[in-house]
């Protein structure tokens, strides 16, 4: 049995139906545990004070914002190459989740930046490339919304996603070249003291896992919704045809 069988909408609906509850529950549990642990049971950082607690939302959402786009890229490729409708619809379903993740990363980052850098926003490369990613998301969603014919929309958005990904990477380099920034690199300032870093990293991993599961749950659920919405469209068209 190949994984392409799940590309049949009916099969996809039946399968996701079964795993949905587990996904919802585990993601809720992980996120709650991670956030409660992070919020209540971690020490303040010696430099950042209690603001460090924002990391438990900021980093997982930033991670998911990027990964959602990556997932869309993969599913778009699958659509272009194998033309499985579920794949295209999954990309469509993921985009709004990706935007919300991007917005959360931007908002928490901005709120964090106020005490840390003394400004809500700086044109740091990482922040800037995130903003560009946000724009790509907006354009992608707007294009889906603007086109009536679902297959046309799937084709156009997937090509946009491919071309956009190339340009997103290019922008990342361009932005890096244009401004060297303030934002933390991969090494946290906390890493200097191993024991403190551990104190933060464990709940952070839990939160990241929770966000990943939440993302999967949302995308499965939304893909199901998109499948049904498309079926409704097709059924209504058919009804008219018979009339």
């Amino acid at each position: 049995m190949s994984i392409w069988e799940y590309a049949n909408p009916k099969k996809f609906l039946a399968t996701t139906e079964k795993v949905m509850p587990a996904l919802w529950v585990s993601s809720a549990v992980l996120i709650s545990v991670g956030l409660v642990w992070g919020f209540f049971f971690t020490p303040d950082d010696y430099r950042q004070g209690s603001t460090v607690k924002i990391i438990f939302l900021h980093v997982p959402s930033a991670l998911m914002a990027i990964n959602a786009w990556f997932m869309m890229l993969v599913t778009s490729l699958v659509w272009v190459i194998r033309r499985h409708h579920v794949s295209a619809l999954a990309a469509r379903a993921a985009a709004p989740v990706g935007v919300v993740m991007t917005v959360i990363a931007l908002v928490t980052g901005a709120i964090w930046g106020q005490p840390m850098w003394g400004t809500w926003w700086a044109w740091d490369p990482r922040l800037t490339s995130f903003l560009v990613l946000f724009l790509f998301y907006l354009g992608y969603i707007a294009l889906w919304e603007a086109i009536d014919n679902p297959d046309t929309a799937a084709d156009l958005t997937s090509i946009l996603c491919l071309v956009g990904s190339v340009f997103a990477v290019l922008s990342r380099y361009a932005v890096n070249f244009w401004n060297q920034g303030l934002h933390q690199g991969a090494s946290l300032s906390l890493d200097e003291k191993e024991n403190v870093a551990d104190a933060f990293s464990n709940p952070l991993y839990v939160c990241m896992a929770g966000f990943v599961l939440l993302f999967i749950a949302l995308v499965f659920y939304r893909t199901g919704t998109e499948i049904r919405a498309r079926r409704i469209k097709a059924l209504m068209a058919r009804e008219r045809l018979e009339a």
Partner: protein, 51 residues
């Protein structure tokens, strides 16, 4: 409640905003999902009845 010190506003608003966004996303997703599912089912039963 842990002592957040002078950054209480910052941390709380970040948590508040994020949780609101997350919950809104989930709620919107589920509401739309339910609505679409219901629509599809009524449509399917109606069309099956009509042949």
């Amino acid at each position: 409640m842990p002592d957040l010190g002078k950054y209480a506003d910052t941390v709380l608003s970040a948590y508040g905003a994020s949780l609101v966004l997350l919950v809104a996303l989930v709620v919107v997703t589920i509401l739309r999902g339910r609505k679409v599912r219901r629509e599809m089912e009524t449509l399917e039963t109606r069309m099956k009845r009509n042949g």
